[in-house]
Amino acid sequence: MSDPVLQSAATAAARATPAPLAMKVRMLSDRAIAWLFITPTILLLLAINIFPLIWTVYLSFTNYRANQPGREVKWVGTRNYERLLGSEDIWEYLQATAHFVCWTMIIQVLLGLGLGLLINKNFKGNSFWTTVVLIPMMLSPAVVGVFWTYLYQPQTGIFSYIVNIFANVGPVDMIGSVDLAPWAIIIVDTWMWTPYIMLLCLAGLRSIPDYLYEATEVDRANAWQKFWYITLPRVLPFLMLAVLFRGIENFKMFDMVVELTSGGPGSTTELASINLKREAFEKWRTGYSSAFAVILFVTVFGLGNIYVKALNKVKQ
């Protein structure tokens, strides 16, 4: 503030400020200023996260239907929860979701780690291949779902063609078969998201200092021992983080599967979120679907917490 012009402008501004306000600002503590800054964020969070959550919990105890605004909203107690937990169909959807989440995680972790180890090697064209491998995860899940329906087409799709090169089994109906459809969605998700796991593994692998491997060489450790005692423990936290992110994403998987199978055949691939959407926005059973949403939220939140505790232990 050495510039005299600026100085005089500041003085003029200070004079123009009403005395009580100037006093108040001067009297604010650091803590109060901090609150002043974070209050808008807290208010936004309350408005768009916390309030809807509380409202959903409230609706889950009512018979509310969003498409019938004039209808009397009745408190139905735990009836929605009883119906949900007593419904065979709901358990089937949860089972389908668990099958999808577990298998995608197992396969993607193995493939992602393997790809990470490969890409971590120094070879010609490393950057190019890294980019190529990452392409699927850059696409929109809905688009991926649509074009895989063409790839899976039993008569003209390339998938069936490739299978028949190895085994002459005729047209392979991946989407229409009850046995194959759950694997059809696992294959597509794996194709799309293994690169993501690979990327996080790569971050872990590149954070391992070379001297650790040099030390194991001094101790004449073989490749397996290097992997087991050095690589895996160092990559594990990254891998677990990837599983956490992908696990939550796949638990609420919707778009790709809807485009690919519409939840069929029958309800074979009707994951929990697909059914939730049907209940909430096609059948308009808002109260019932709110109860389902609460159950799913509690499940993900609970499992997520247990997992994060395990992750912290691994980090320690």
Binding site: Q155, G263, G266, S267
Partner: protein
């Protein structure tokens, strides 16, 4: 006097010019599904614009998203659509929740009589509660489920001979569902012109309404009723009665034996594609698509024939089609009503039919030349005389989704028996009606 005349003429001219300019500024949005008849309506509506000066804008959404998109629009009180050609099943909800305006006073004022329209279409597309003289739509697009077959393949002497030897009758459009299955089996896996072909394209779609429209074509033909005619909403023994279960089992048999590989999630477009690409000998589809098939380069003309949904125990066809309604949230209701008045005119209705739309007006349908005006016109008339529709209750979406799940589980996913599927369906529907306070 001369001066007065000049002044009056100038005033009249300027008034006309102002009115014209105002009309030019006005625009109506008509919402419907994206399909051939919608394009025909867009063409037809140019006459309305020329006559009224009101511009027409169209919001056509693919069938797979049609219900989702527009029911959400109605539920949210949206102003996107001034006029909506909504599915027949929406009428209960739209009338009950005030999405459509009631048209009785308007019809009375403009002299539009529902007696001028085919009774089945008035009942299905316009009235709520069903059958009462409370009109919420003008019948706009008559439609029913019918069948198309490869007339040129059926006519081949070697196939005729082989079929006759096997079944003891001519290879011709079927008189019942058993005959239909015989034909489908006959063609299944057969090689024609060096290409492997399949029996029939039937509806199996899971997401919206496809498989329900397909299985009900069989269930109606077997004589299934939704409830006890004496006791509304008493469904046990009707929806899951022996005839309904037998029909559902038959439909599954048809799916298992005679559809192309991968035909597990097929609706209108998938059936059309399978048929037009020469993959199937027959397809079920809405009459609305038949003008397009008749004109198609590959399968049109003499190559295709049409037949009504075959009877089994009774004559019955699944109802399609829609009425045109004025959306109550629209700011342009007057202009929208003007459009409906124009559309109800018999001359406009005749042009509507000539462009590929299915008029419901008696002036068109009862014209002596109508049956011969298109290769499928007589079948359309026959089908419309015995159409049956799905529930039109305000809770129709719930009822439909339950049926989609139960029948897809059974027909495509091999889950349980037909009887079990329908028993579960009755349980689902009972719960819906209980929640809605109907039982």
């Amino acid at each position: 006097m001369r001066h007065l005349r000049t002044t009056l003429a100038a005033a009249a001219l300027s008034l006309a010019a102002t009115t014209g300019a105002q009309a030019q500024d006005k625009e109506l949005t008509l919402c419907w599904a994206a399909w051939d008849p919608a394009n025909a309506l867009a063409e037809l509506s140019k006459d309305f614009t020329a006559q009224s000066g009101i511009q027409m804008k169209f919001e056509f959404v693919p069938w797979t998203n049609f219900a989702d998109r527009f029911i959400n629009e109605l539920n949210s009180g949206g102003k996107l659509c001034d006029l909506l050609i909504g599915d027949s099943q929406w009428i209960g909800g739209s009338a009950t929740y005030g999405h459509y305006i009631k048209l009785n006073d308007f019809f009375d004022k403009e002299g539009i009589s529902m007696d001028d329209f085919l009774p089945a279409t008035v009942y299905a597309y316009s009235t709520w509660p069903k059958g009462t003289p409370n009109y919420w739509a003008l019948p706009a697009m008559g439609d029913a489920l019918g069948w198309v077959y490869r007339k040129d393949w059926f006519a081949r002497p070697e196939l005729q001979a082989e079929f006759k030897e096997k079944h003891g009758r001519d290879l011709a459009p079927p008189n019942n569902w058993n005959e239909l299955k015989d034909i489908a089996e006959f063609f299944q896996g057969r090689e024609i012109d060096g290409k492997k072909i399949y029996g029939a394209g039937i509806y199996t779609e899971r997401g919206s309404e496809g498989i329900t429209m397909g299985v009900t074509a069989a269930m109606y033909a077997w004589g299934m009723e939704y409830d006890n005619p004496e006791t509304p909403y008493e469904m046990d023994g009707y929806v899951n009665g022996p005839a309904a279960a037998e029909a559902l089992e038959f439909y599954k048999g048809l799916y298992d034996c005679c559809t192309p590989p991968g035909h597990s999630d097929a609706y209108m477009v998938a059936n059309l594609d399978a048929y037009k690409s020469g993959q199937v000998a027959m397809q079920m589809n809405w009459f609305a698509f038949f003008p397009g098939i008749a004109k198609d380069e590959d399968v049109g003309g003499d190559k295709s024939g049409f037949f009504v949904n075959p009877p089994q125990n009774v004559e019955a066809s699944t109802l399609g089609g829609q009425g045109i309604s004025v959306v109550s949230y629209s700011d342009k209701q007057e202009e929208a009503l003007q459009y409906i008045k124009w559309f109800a005119d018999p001359e406009v209705q005749k042009k509507w039919w000539s462009l590929g739309g299915y008029s419901c007006h008696k002036a068109v349908l009862e014209d002596p030349g109508f049956a011969d005006s298109a290769p499928f016109a007589a079948d359309f008339l026959e089908a419309m005389s015995h159409v049956q529709d799905f529930w039109q209750e305000p809770t129709y979406a719930e009822l439909l989704q339950s049926m989609q799940k139960r029948v897809h589980d059974y027909v495509v996913a091999d889950k349980g028996t037909a009887q079990e599927a329908l028993d579960k369906l009755v349980d689902d529907w009972t719960e819906v009606f209980e929640d809605d306070g109907k039982i």
